[in-house]
Symmetry: none
DNA sequence: TATGAATGAGTATTCATTCAT
DNA sequence: CATGAATGAATACTCATTCAT
C-alpha cells in the first residue's frame, strides 16, 4: 500500500513539472524526449508513470482541477467587508500569478486537443463553472460581477505573456486597483 | 488549376485561411498536410508559396499586424461623447469576435514559438503597444483605462473559448454592458 | 526538315552544357531545376527537349560516344615515328583535359545508374573497346601498352580532381613526360 | 535487438558497411531507407547513430582517412630491393582491389559533395598527400615516380569499373607487370 | 524500477514531372 | 514553343512508443 502512495506521489510530482514545459512550448511542440529531459528522467521512466503523451496532458488537467480553487479556500481568510474579500482574492491571484498563467495556457492546449479529437468541451466548462460558483459563494457578489472579475484576471494573465517584462508587477497592481476601484463605486 | 497571376495576392489569401486552422488545432499539432488540405491545395503548392511551416506562422503574424487595428479605423466613425466611442469600439470588437479570438490564439502559439527559438518577444510587444496607442488616441481616455478595456476584452475572448456555447452572445453583451456601466460611472 | 535540324541542334547544345553540371554535382544530386537554371531555361522547356532526367543522362552518354575519339581523328596528324604519335595523343588529351575529366565523371555516374537499374554495362564497355581499338590503330603499339597509356590518363584526370590547383599543368606535363620516357626506353 | 554496449564500435561497423552502398549507387542516388535496409536496421536507428545523411558521407571519409594506408604499413614487410618493395605495394593493392575501388568512388562523391557546399577540397588533398608521402618513405623512390605509380593504380581501378568482368584479374596482372617492367628498366 | 537503444509510422520538405496559359 | 505554377509520390528526418537489459 505505501508503495502505491509513493508511486502516486512521484507521479504527481512529475506531472506538476510538466505544466511549465507545456506552458512554455505548447503541448503540440513539446516532445516526449524534451519532457523526459525536463523532468530529469529517461523516456522509459516517463512511460512507467504515464501511458502516453496524451494522457499526461489529460491527467495534468484533471489534477489541476482537483486542486484548483481548493488551494485558495484552504488558505483564504473570511473577511467581513466585500471589499476585503475581493482584495483577498486578488492578492491570492497575484501571488500565484505564474501558476495561473501556466494553467491558462494549458487549458488552451487542452481545449485544442479536445477539439482535435472531436470531444465536447465539458471538462473545461465544468472547471470554469465550479470556479465561478465557489467565487460567488466566497465573494457574495452578483454572478455577473464575479464573471467580470474572472474574465478580467484571465485577460491580465494573457497580456503579461508578451509584455511588461520589468514593470509587470506594477502594471498588474495598477490594473487590479482600477478593478477594485470601479467595483467599489458601483 | 488556373494560372495565378498575382502571386502575392494569392499568398495572402492562403495565409489568411491558415488563421482558422492554427486557432483550431494549435500550430504545433497542425500538419502541413492538414494545412494544404484545409487550403485546398497540394503540399507542393504550399511550399511554392511558403518556404516552411515556421514561416507560415511568422508571415501570418506579420500580415495580421499590418492589418491589425487599421481595419478598425478604416470604418470607425468619430463620435463626440466618450461613451459613444467606447460603444463603437466594443461593437466593432463583438462583430469581429471570432477573428480576434483566433488572432489571440495565434499570438499565444507565436509566443511559444519565439520562446522555443530563444527569440525576444519584441514582435508581440510591438503589436500590443501600437494597438494600445491607437486606442488611446481614439478613445481619448487615460492610458490605464484603455489597458483595462483591452485586458477585459482579451479575457472575454478566452472565456468564450470553452464555455457559453448557445448563450454566448447574451453573456458577452451582459459583460460588455457591465464594463461600459462601470467606466461611465467613474 | 530544317525545323527538326534546328531543334536537334539546340537539343545537343543543351545536352553538352549538362556535362559540366553533372560532373560538378553528380547526376543523383543535381535537380532538374538546377539543370534548367544552369541552361538558362525553364523546367518546362527542359521537358520539351528531354522526356526525363534519366534520358538526359543516357542521351548525353550516347552523344559523347558518337563524338568521342572521332574528334581526335578529325584533327590528329599522321606522324611517322611512334614517339611522335604518342605525343600527338597526349597533347590532344592535355588540351581537352577538362572535357575528358568531365566525361570520366559522367561515365562513373552512368555506370552507377546502369547498376541501379540492373542493366549490363555493355554501353561503357563498348565505348572503351572502340576507343582502345582506335588508339591501337593510330599508335600502332601493342594492345597492352595502349591499355597502359589509357589507364594512366584516366588516373591522371582523377588525381587532378582533388589536388594540384595551381601547379596542375606542370604536374600533368611532368607525369606525361615520365610516361613517354618510360615507353620510349622499352 | 540486443542492447549495443559499445556505441562507437557499432557506429563504425555501420559506417564501414555504407561504403559499398555508396560505391554501388552513388551517394546522391542512395536513399536513407536503402541504407537502413542495407545495414539491416530501421531508419530510426540510423538516425540514432548519425545525425544526417550528409554526416554519414563525411564521417565515412574521415574514418577511412584514419585507417587509410595505416593498414598497409601494419602488414607490409620491409624489403631490400626496390623492385621487391614495389611488388609488395602492388600485391597489397591487388588483394584489396574492391576496397580501394569503392574508396575511390566515395572520394569522387565526397568531392562533388564538397563542391556543392562550396567547401575547399582540403580534406581529399590531405589524404592524397599523406598517402603520397608514406609511399615515398616506403618505396624510397623519387616523388614523381611514386605519383606515377599511384596515378596508374587509380586508373586501373577505374577501368575495372566498367570492363573486364571475367578476365579482370589477368588484365590487372598484365598491366601491373607492365608497370613494374617499365619502372625496372629505368 | 530505470534506462536508452530500437522501431516504424508519421512529419516536413523536395523534386521529377505535368499542364494551363 | 516557352513558361512556371501545380502536383503528389518519394525523401530526409522526427518522435511517440516499445522492450531487452
Amino acid at each position: 500500500m505505501p508503495k502505491i502512495v509513493d508511486r502516486d506521489r512521484y507521479r504527481k510530482e512529475l506531472l506538476s513539472q510538466c505544466l511549465g514545459l507545456f506552458a512554455e512550448q505548447g503541448y503540440g511542440s513539446t516532445t516526449m524526449r524534451q519532457i523526459a529531459q525536463g523532468l530529469g528522467v529517461s523516456t522509459g521512466t516517463l512511460y512507467h508513470y504515464f501511458p502516453s503523451k496524451e494522457r499526461i496532458l489529460e491527467q495534468l488537467v484533471e489534477e489541476l482541477c482537483e486542486q484548483g480553487i481548493a488551494d485558495f479556500f484552504a488558505q483564504a481568510p473570511v473577511a467581513e467587508a466585500m471589499g476585503d474579500r475581493l482584495r483577498v482574492v486578488i492578492t491570492f491571484f497575484v501571488e500565484h500569478f505564474r501558476f495561473y498563467q501556466q494553467q491558462l495556457l494549458l487549458w488552451i492546449d487542452f481545449h485544442q486537443h479536445q477539439q482535435r479529437k472531436g470531444i465536447e468541451q465539458g471538462v473545461l466548462q465544468g472547471v470554469w463553472r465550479r470556479t465561478h460558483a465557489q467565487m460567488v459563494t466566497y465573494l457574495q457578489m452578483p454572478s455577473a460581477q464575479v464573471d467580470f472579475i474572472l474574465v478580467f484576471m484571465d485577460g491580465l494573465m494573457l497580456q503579461c505573456l508578451y509584455d511588461h517584462g520589468e514593470g509587470e508587477a506594477d502594471w498588474v497592481a495598477q490594473q487590479t486597483e482600477l478593478l477594485i476601484g470601479l467595483l467599489d463605486r458601483s
